[in-house]
């Protein structure tokens, strides 16, 4: 573990509502640069909601409301002068359900570059190649970049979505169960990838797989019913949690 920890994201008493339904209440936690932060917790506890608040994806949901602070590099992203488009470029996201666009493999990865105004073909081609390599997909697709992305397998599609997110050089990467639809080999690949990526990014990953959380994350947050129950270094959470309920959840003794 590095001696100097830089705080990348900081949630301060952050709450979130879908209409009258409170999905997150009073979350306060710091997320560090060059580290993987795992979020675990039972289904429906607000993991995705928390993730989708960091790039303000939840803005799109009618009747939703946020309260409290979510700081990115010390600046509250919910302030009115924040450029949401720029925020979303800086905070990349891999969705819970992999969502390649019905375009070619190449165009999928190039999409983010193009919408950000990059026209230089050589640059785009080089960037697409680099992103696909970073996402450990290049070897499998380099001869068929012009094929429709829907022809890829589920695991390849998920890595394509990762490559697509990497292409625009985000600072933070939000991954919502990136390995939930993958076989063990593909999961391993994605995990190695995450390990590699944390050298450059702050990564937040939601997972239902306890072993996976223990393997890849440096910090782990345990959410339950919209509240942050416990947040600490992964080793601490998995060996000596301070709350009984955390231990019960991790060991699977929990309903």
């Amino acid at each position: 573990m590095k001696s100097v920890k830089i705080i990348k994201i900081s949630a301060g008493n952050f709450s979130f509502w879908y209409g009258a339904m409170k999905a997150l209440s009073g979350i306060s936690m710091d997320i560090y640069e060059n580290a993987v932060t795992g979020i675990i917790g039972p289904s429906g506890c607000g993991k995705s909601t928390f993730l989708r608040s960091i790039n303000r994806m939840n803005d799109l949901i009618r009747g939703s409301r946020a309260d409290g602070a979510m700081l990115l590099d010390g600046k509250n992203i919910f302030e009115p002068d924040v450029d949401v488009v720029e925020l979303r470029r800086r905070v990349g996201m891999v969705f819970q359900r992999s969502n390649p666009f019905p375009k070619t493999i190449f165009d999928n990865v190039a999409y983010g570059l193009r919408v950000n105004g990059i026209k230089d073909r050589n640059y785009i081609a080089a960037k697409v190649e680099k992103s696909l390599k970073d996402a450990a997909l290049w070897g499998e697709v380099k001869d068929r970049l012009r094929q429709n992305a829907f022809e890829l397998s589920g695991g390849q599609q998920q890595r394509l979505c990762i490559a697509r997110a990497l292409a625009v050089e985000p600072e933070v990467l939000l991954m919502d169960e990136p390995a939930s639809a993958l076989d063990p080999t593909a999961t391993l690949k994605v995990e190695e990838l995450i390990h590699e990526l944390k050298k450059k990014y702050a990564i937040i990953i939601v997972t239902h797989n306890m072993q996976q959380a223990a393997r890849i994350s440096d910090y782990t947050a345990f959410f339950m019913m919209g509240e942050l129950v416990e947040y600490d270094q992964t080793t601490k959470i998995f060996t000596n949690p301070s709350k009984k309920i955390t231990e019960e959840y991790i060991t699977g003794r929990f309903g």
Binding site: N55, M57, G92, F95, N99, F101, P102, N116, E151
Partner: protein
């Protein structure tokens, strides 16, 4: 068990019967117009002016007129309808007002065409001073087609998964960029399908053009947007009910009907082709 099976069989028979009735009716109409009309359809019929008080000659000006007026309809209804649908589906908040607007649009598609005709007279012919002409008739048909275009376009937009929009936004696309590059390309074929069906209906309408621009008889082609014009459906109406020698021109009327049916059929068929391609692309 037995009773259940019998019920099943009877149900299926009834459904088949409904289907058969429809097919038979369609076939009779087709058979009737083809057998009676095909005799009058010739190259000359399609390309010549009407002669001798429309008892001889062709229907070229009517074909041209219908073509031109449909083009005007399309020019008006397609961009306006698509724009409206994009606004309603992508931008407008889901409020009482939007819902009311949507409901009104749905209802407008059920308003009788003669009402549009009268409205066209008031708005385009008189108030905007276009006079009775191609432009007035095209605009009237355009108005009539709009509800269809809007509804079909909105459906097409709804069919594009939300994940495409979110995925684009998450990469730093603006809302309009995500719509233009990641929603519209997948919605346009569906939008066109609905629009073409609406246009086909407009091409076959008589009432909206009756007072707004269609001419009883014109031995020359329209010269500008402000000329009157002949149109297939109106020509057919005249030939079968208003002509001074109705029995004599009956074959010509059937010929006109056949041309009109083929035209509408061709438009609908192209809509089906587009939809078929759309399905194929989606499956890939």
């Amino acid at each position: 068990m037995k009773a259940k099976q019998a019920e099943e069989i009877i149900g299926f028979l009834l459904l088949r019967l409904c289907m058969a009735v429809i097919v038979v009716i369609l076939c009779v109409i087709f058979y009737d117009s083809i057998t009676k009309g095909i005799g009058s359809v010739s190259w000359e019929f399609l390309t010549a002016m009407p002669k001798n008080g429309m008892t001889e000659g062709g229907i070229f000006p009517a074909i041209t007129g219908t073509f031109l007026v449909t083009v005007i309809t399309a020019v008006l209804a397609i961009p306006l309808g698509m724009g409206c649908a994009i606004y309603l589906n992508e931008y407008a908040a889901d409020t009482m007002v939007t819902r009311l607007i949507r409901l009104s649009i749905r209802n407008l598609s059920g308003v009788p065409s003669i009402v549009y005709g009268l409205f066209g007279v008031v708005l385009f012919v008189q108030f905007m001073r276009f006079g009775t002409c191609l432009l007035s008739a095209g605009c009237t048909l355009g108005l009539m087609t709009l509800p269809w275009t809007i509804t079909a376009s909105e459906e097409a937009l709804k069919n594009v998964p939300k994940a495409y929009r979110e995925g684009a936004l998450a990469l730093g696309a603006t809302k309009w960029q995500s719509i233009r590059t990641n929603v519209l390309p997948y919605a346009v074929p569906g939008m066109l399908t609905g629009t073409i069906l609406g246009l086909a209906r407009a091409a076959g309408e008589t009432a909206p053009i009756l007072f707004t621009g269609a001419a009883f008889f014109m031995p020359f082609l329209p010269e500008s947007l402000f000329s009157q014009f002949m149109a297939l459906p109106y020509h057919l109406y005249i030939m079968s009910t208003q002509h001074h020698a109705i029995t004599k021109v009956r074959p010509l009327a059937y010929g006109t009907a056949l041309v009109l049916i083929v035209l509408v059929f061709a438009m609908n068929f192209s809509a089906v082709v587009i939809r078929y391609h759309l399905r194929k692309v989606k499956k890939e």
